[in-house]
C-alpha cells in the first residue's frame, strides 16, 4: 500500500486541528519518482490549495497522487472557476483532462439533481478514460458521472438517465440522440467542455456539436481544450463563446521528454526490424501504429507468431471488444497494443514508454498525437519510426512542420532516455470498475465516500522488465498468457492467436 505523505504546502486557511485532521486521514499513493520535464514542472509555484477548492475535491486530488498543478492546470483552473469561456492549448500529456475536470467538480452542486456539466470527447475510449478521471478526483464530492457513447445499448442509457446524473461524458452522436429524444435534459447544463477541440470542430462533428448546443442554456460556460486549433475555431468562437480567455502553452509542439528516432527499413524487412526492437528495447508497454485496419490485424498476428503477446484495436471492431482491449491494456495485462489512429487522441497510460510507427504517418497532426502516447505528464518516452524510401517526403514535411528533429537510430539506445529506474512507482491507471465495463451502457455506480482508493496488484510489472544484471541480448520471453477461461467463444480472436497453434517454448 502507498505510504502516507503529508508533505504539502501549508493551507492558507486557519491552521486548526480540523485542518490537520483531514490531511492526515488521506490515503495517498506512493510517490512517482520518475523524472519529469518542464512540460509539467514549469509553473509559477501555485498549489491546488491556492485555488481555494472545496475540501472534498482536494481530498480526491491528493488521493489520486496529484501533488502540484501542471502549467495548464495552474492557468486554467482558477479562470474556469470564475466562469469564463476558455480556449486552451497545451501539449499532449500535460494534464489537460484534470485542467477541466477539477473546475467542473468544483462548480457542480451535488444536491441539484440535474445534468450540470457536459464533457464532449471524440472517441469512446477517451470517454471512458475521462469519466474515470471524474470519478477518481470527485470520489468524495458526492457527484454522479455517466458515460454515453455510440455502439452501446440506447435503452441502458435511457434507464440510467432516470437516476441522478450530474456530469455527462459522451461522444457527440449519442449525446445528440439522447438530447433530441428529451431523455437527457440539458436545460440546466451550464458547463460545456470539448476535449480534443480540433477534432470536435472538424467536419465530422461540427454540425452535431452545434445542434447539441441548442439544448443547453444560452448563457452556459464553454471550455475548449486541444493541442492544436484549426482556423475554423475562430468562427465557432465568435458564434458560441463570450469574450473567451485564451491560454497558449504551445511554444513548441513536441514533448520535451520524448526521444524520436527513425530507422530506414525496406517494407519487407519491417517484421525482422520489429523483432529485433522487441528483443533489444526495454519495453514497459508499447503501442505500435499502422496506417490501416487490415495491416493492424496482420501485424498483430505476426507479432503473436513471433512469440510476443499483443492486443489490437481499430475502428471496425465492435464496441464491446474495443472496450475490453482498452481496459486490459491499461491494466497492464498485455505488453503490446497494435492499433490504427483510432487511439491517437488523449489515451493516457503512464506505463507506455515506447511508441513505434510501424507505418509512418502522413500528417504532422497524426504524428504528434501518436508519439504523444508515451512521455505522458512530462515523463520520458521513446518514439521509433520505420521509414522507407517513399516516406522521405513525409519525414521531411513533418520535421519542418513540427520544428523538431528525428534522428537516426543509434546502435544502442541509452536506457535513461525512456526506462524508469523504479517501475513500482509508475502510476497504475485509475481502475475502471470491473462491473461497469461488462455492462453495455457502462453505468457509473455511486461509490461510498469511505471507500479506500484501491491499487490493483502489481504482479504483472516485474515480468516486463529485464533484470538490471542481465547483460546479454536475447529475445524477451512473453508474459504468461491470460487465461481463456470465462471468455465467451466469440471473443477469443481479440488475442490475435490463431487457433490450434501452440506457443513456442523457451
Amino acid at each position: 500500500m502507498g505510504s502516507i505523505n503529508n508533505n504539502f504546502n501549508t493551507n492558507n486557511n486557519s491552521n486548526t486541528d480540523l485542518d490537520r485532521d483531514w490531511k492526515t486521514a488521506l490515503n495517498i499513493p506512493k510517490k512517482d519518482t520518475r523524472p519529469q520535464t518542464d512540460d509539467v514542472l514549469n509553473t509559477k509555484g501555485n498549489t491546488f490549495e491556492d485555488f481555494y477548492l472545496k475540501r472534498e475535491l482536494l481530498m480526491g486530488i491528493f488521493e489520486a497522487g496529484f501533488e502540484k498543478p501542471s502549467p495548464i492546470q495552474e492557468e486554467a483552473i482558477p479562470v474556469a472557476i470564475t466562469g469564463r469561456d476558455i480556449l486552451a492549448r497545451a501539449k499532449n500529456g500535460t494534464g489537460k483532462t484534470a485542467a477541466f475536470v477539477i473546475p467542473t467538480l468544483e462548480k457542480v452542486k451535488p444536491k441539484l439533481n440535474k445534468i450540470q456539466a457536459l464533457i464532449m470527447v471524440p472517441t469512446r475510449e477517451l470517454a471512458l478514460q475521462t469519466s474515470q478521471v471524474v470519478r477518481t478526483l470527485g470520489k468524495h464530492c458526492g457527484i454522479s458521472c455517466m458515460v454515453t457513447t455510440g455502439g452501446t445499448n440506447l435503452r441502458d442509457d435511457i434507464l440510467r438517465l432516470n437516476e441522478t446524473v450530474h456530469i455527462l461524458v459522451g461522444t457527440p452522436g449519442r449525446v445528440l440522440d439522447l438530447a433530441s429524444r428529451k431523455v437527457a435534459d440539458l436545460s440546466d447544463c451550464s458547463l460545456f467542455i470539448m476535449d480534443e477541440a480540433d477534432k470536435m470542430l472538424s467536419r465530422d462533428f461540427k454540425t452535431i456539436i452545434e445542434q447539441i448546443l441548442s439544448f443547453l442554456p444560452p448563457t452556459h460556460q464553454s471550455l475548449l481544450f486541444s493541442a492544436t486549433f484549426p482556423l475554423t475555431v475562430k468562427e465557432f468562437m465568435v458564434k458560441h463563446l463570450h469574450k473567451p480567455y485564451e491560454i497558449n502553452l504551445m511554444e513548441e509542439l513536441t514533448l520535451k521528454g520524448i526521444t524520436q528516432y527513425y530507422a530506414f527499413v525496406e517494407e519487407r524487412q519491417k517484421l525482422h526490424c520489429l523483432n529485433t526492437l522487441f528483443s533489444k528495447l526495454q519495453i514497459n508497454q508499447a503501442i505500435i501504429f499502422c496506417n490501416s485496419t487490415n495491416r493492424v490485424e496482420l501485424l498483430a498476428k505476426k507479432i503473436t507468431d513471433l512469440g510476443y503477446s499483443c492486443y489490437y484495436s481499430h475502428a471496425r471492431m465492435k464496441q464491446q471488444e474495443r472496450n475490453k482491449v482498452f481496459h486490459e491494456f491499461r491494466q497492464g495485462k498485455v505488453r503490446t497494443l497494435v492499433c490504427s489512429d483510432l487511439l491517437t487522441r488523449g489515451i493516457d497510460i503512464q506505463a507506455v514508454n515506447v511508441v513505434i510507427n510501424f507505418d509512418f504517418p502522413k500528417t504532422a497532426e497524426t504524428y504528434l498525437h501518436r508519439i504523444g502516447r508515451s512521455g505522458r505528464f512530462g515523463h520520458l518516452g521513446l518514439a521509433i519510426n520505420l521509414i522507407n524510401w517513399n516516406d522521405r517526403f513525409n519525414l521531411y514535411k513533418i520535421e519542418q512542420e513540427l520544428g523538431t528533429e528525428i534522428a537516426a537510430i543509434p546502435a544502442t539506445i541509452d536506457k535513461s532516455l525512456y526506462v524508469a529506474e523504479n517501475d513500482e512507482t509508475v502510476p497504475v491507471p485509475f481502475p475502471i470498475e470491473q462491473q461497469s465495463y461488462h455492462q453495455q451502457a457502462i453505468p457509473q455506480q455511486q461509490l461510498p465516500s469511505q471507500q479506500q482508493f484501491a491499487i490493483p496488484p502489481q504482479q504483472h510489472h516485474p515480468q516486463f522488465m529485464v533484470p538490471p544484471s542481465h547483460q546479454q541480448q536475447q529475445a524477451y520471453p512473453p508474459p504468461q498468457m491470460p487465461s481463456q477461461q470465462g471468455y465467451p467463444p466469440q471473443q477469443e480472436h481479440f488475442m490475435a492467436m490463431p487457433p490450434g497453434q501452440s506457443q513456442p517454448q523457451y
Binding site: 501555485n46 452556459h220 460556460q221 485564451e246
Partner: protein, 551 residues
C-alpha cells in the same frame, strides 16, 4: 529461363547506369526486375530492361532453395489475397520462424542506404517551388493541412488587450473640469469642523456618560447629520431638518425593534452563524451594534472611519482578487485583458466610499479593470468622504461612467466580460427610500441599475456590501417601499455579519456565499459596551483578513 527468378542482380546498361533488383522474369528479349533501386537513389517496384541495352550483369543473391510446388502455393495465396484485399504487403507471407533464427536486424547498415542530409537538402530546394507546381500530391496536401491550423505560437485572439479601455478616461477628464466640486469641498470642510466640536463637547460633559440609551440616540443623530439636506443653512430649512431627523430616527428605531422581535423567539440559534471551513460559531450583529463599534473605535482608539474603511478595502480586495483567479491569472504579462469589475455605488459614507476604496485597491496594481456607476450623477456627489475616495480612485486607474447606457456602451467595446459586480448602493444605515428621497429621477436611475445588474450573465458574481439593495438592513426582509431588489450571489460583511442574513438566505435564492472582512476593530472595543460583549470571545481574524461563512 525461370530458373533465374528470385536472383538479386546488378545490371549495368550500355550508357553506364547501374540498376539493382530481383529478377521477376527473364526472356531472350530482356529482364523484368522487382524492388528496383537505381544508381541515383531512385526506387521502383518494377522495371523492364531490354536485352539490347544490357552491357553487364552481376548476381548479388540467389533465390531460396524452394521447389516449384512452394512457389505455386505462394503465388496462389498472393493472388487470392490481392483479389480480396486489393493491397500488397511485403511481409504478409514472411516465415516467422526464419525471422526468429536470423541475426539482429542491422539498423546501421540500413541507415547507410539513406543519406538524410542529402535527401533533405534536395527536398529543401524543391520546397521553394509553389505548391501548384509540385509533382508530389502529398506535398500539396501537406501544404493545405499547414494552412488549416493555427501555428503553435499563433494566438486565436492576438490583440485581446487592445480594446477601448484606455479611451474611457477621456470622458471622465471632461467631467473633472467642473468648478463646482471645489465649492462643495469648502462646504464640507465647515461641516467637518462642526462635527468635531460636537464630539469634544460630548466627551467632556460627564452628565452624558452613564446614560447608555442617550448615547445610542446620540450616535443615531450623529449619523443622521450626514444627510445631504443638512447643507442648507436657512432658518426655514432648520425646521425641516428636525422633521427629517425625527423621521429617520423613528425609522431606525422601528428597524431595530423589528430586528429584536425577529431574534427573540428563535433564541440563540439564529443569532450565530458558522464559518465555512473551521466551523466556528460567529455572533451576528444589528446595524446599531455595528455603528456602536465604529463609534467606539473612533472615540477610544483614535482609529477614524477613514482607517476602518482602508482596512476593509485592503482585506476585501485580497478576497476578490482570489475570486478572480489569484496569482496564477493576475499577471501584467497576461495576453488576455484584465478582468472587469463594475461598482454600483451611492453617495453614502458606509457604502459608496467603502466601495470606491475597494475599487481602488483592485485596480491600482494594474491587474483588474474597475468601472463605477453612481446612483446620482458624478457632479452631484455631496458626501465628502465619497468625493475624496472618488478622486483617489480615478488617479489610481479607476473609471467612472455616468449612466447605465454609457456603461453598456463601454462594455461592448471591451474584450473583458463583467466578472464581478459590487453592489454598494445601500449600506446598513439607510434604505433605498433614503437614497431616492423625493426625486423620481434618482429612483428611476436606481431601478435601471438594479435591472442592469440582474440581467448579467450567469457567470457574473454580484457581491453586495453588508445588505443587498432593496432589503431592510435590520430584518433582511424585502423593502416594502421599494419593489426592486438586487439578486446578489454573495454578501461582503464589514467586520461582523448582520442578523438580517438569516432572512436573506430564505428571501434571496441567488445567494451562494457570504464573507466576513476584517475592518480592524480592536478587541478592546467590545468591552466598552454591555451590548457588545458577545463579540469578545471569538477568534475571527487571526492570520487572514477574510473568513467565508457557511450559509
Amino acid at each position: 529461363m525461370s530458373q533465374f527468378v528470385g536472383f538479386g542482380v546488378q545490371v549495368e546498361l550500355k550508357d553506364g547506369k547501374l540498376i539493382q533488383g530481383k529478377i521477376a522474369k527473364a526472356t531472350s528479349k530482356g529482364l523484368t526486375l522487382n524492388d528496383v533501386q537505381f544508381g541515383d537513389g531512385g526506387k521502383s517496384q518494377a522495371f523492364k530492361v531490354r536485352a539490347s541495352r544490357l552491357k553487364d550483369l552481376k548476381v548479388l543473391t540467389v533465390a531460396s532453395q524452394s521447389g516449384k510446388r512452394k512457389q505455386q502455393r505462394q503465388q496462389q495465396q498472393q493472388n487470392d489475397y490481392n483479389q480480396n484485399r486489393g493491397e500488397h504487403i511485403d511481409w504478409q507471407d514472411d516465415d516467422v520462424s526464419k525471422i526468429k533464427q536470423q541475426e539482429d536486424f542491422d539498423f546501421q547498415r540500413n541507415l547507410g542506404m539513406f543519406n538524410k542530409k542529402d535527401v533533405f537538402a534536395q527536398l529543401k530546394q524543391n520546397d521553394d517551388i509553389l505548391p501548384e507546381n509540385r509533382l508530389q500530391g502529398h506535398n500539396r496536401k501537406q501544404t493545405q493541412l499547414q494552412q488549416n491550423n493555427y501555428q503553435n505560437d499563433e494566438l486565436v485572439i492576438p490583440d485581446a488587450k487592445k480594446d477601448s479601455w484606455n479611451k474611457i478616461s477621456s470622458r471622465n477628464e471632461q467631467s473633472t473640469h467642473q468648478s463646482q466640486p471645489q465649492q462643495d469641498a469648502q462646504d464640507d470642510l465647515v461641516l467637518e469642523d462642526d462635527e468635531h466640536e460636537y464630539d469634544v463637547d460630548d466627551i467632556d460633559d460627564p452628565k452624558y456618560l452613564p446614560i447608555t440609551q442617550s448615547l445610542n440616540i446620540t450616535h443615531l443623530i450623529h449619523s443622521a447629520t450626514n444627510s445631504p439636506s443638512i447643507n442648507d443653512k436657512t432658518k426655514g430649512t432648520v425646521i425641516n431638518d428636525k422633521d427629517q431627523v425625527l423621521a429617520k430616527l423613528g425609522q431606525m428605531i422601528i428597524s431595530q425593534s423589528r430586528s429584536n422581535s425577529t431574534s427573540l423567539p428563535a433564541a440563540n440559534k439564529q443569532t450565530t452563524i458558522r464559518s465555512k471551513n473551521t466551523k466556528q460559531n460567529i455572533p451576528m450583529a444589528t446595524p446599531v451594534q455595528l455603528l456602536e463599534m465604529e463609534s467606539i473605535t473612533s472615540e477610544f482608539f483614535s482609529i477614524n472611519s477613514a482607517g476602518l474603511l482602508e482596512n476593509f478595502a485592503v482585506n476585501a480586495s485580497f478576497f476578490l482578487k482570489q475570486k478572480l483567479g489569484g496569482r496564477a491569472r493576475l499577471r501584467l504579462q497576461n495576453s488576455n485583458p484584465e478582468p472587469l469589475v463594475v461598482i454600483l455605488a451611492s453617495d453614502s459614507n458606509r457604502s459608496g466610499a467603502k466601495a470606491l476604496a475597494l475599487g481602488r485597491h483592485l485596480c491600482q496594481t494594474g491587474h483588474i479593470r474597475v468601472i463605477t456607476l453612481f446612483t446620482c450623477s458624478q457632479n452631484e456627489l455631496q458626501d465628502s468622504m465619497v468625493k475624496k475616495q472618488t478622486d483617489i480612485y480615478k488617479k489610481c486607474g479607476g473609471k467612472i461612467v455616468n449612466s447605465v447606457s454609457s456603461l453598456e456602451s463601454a462594455m461592448e467595446t471591451l474584450n473583458s466580460p463583467v466578472e464581478i459586480v459590487i453592489d454598494a448602493m445601500q449600506g446598513y444605515d439607510c434604505t433605498l427610500s433614503d437614497l431616492a428621497g423625493t426625486s423620481e429621477v434618482i429612483e428611476s436611475r436606481i431601478k435601471s441599475m438594479i435591472s442592469w445588474c440582474n440581467k448579467q450573465r450567469g457567470s457574473t458574481k454580484v457581491w453586495s456590501l453588508d445588505i443587498p439593495n432593496g432589503f431592510d438592513a435590520g430584518s433582511g426582509m424585502p423593502d416594502i417601499f421599494f419593489s426592486d431588489r438586487i439578486e446578489a450571489t454573495g454578501i461582503i460583511c464589514s467586520g461582523w455579519p448582520l442578523i438580517a442574513i438569516n432572512n436573506l438566505i430564505a428571501n434571496l435564492p441567488s445567494l451562494e456565499d457570504a464573507v466576513l472582512i476584517d475592518i480592524g476593530i480592536p478587541q478592546g472595543a467590545y468591552s466598552q459596551r454591555t451590548s457588545l460583549r458577545k463579540f469578545q470571545n471569538c477568534d475571527l481574524f487571526v492570520t487572514d483578513g477574510s473568513l467565508l461563512l457557511d450559509l
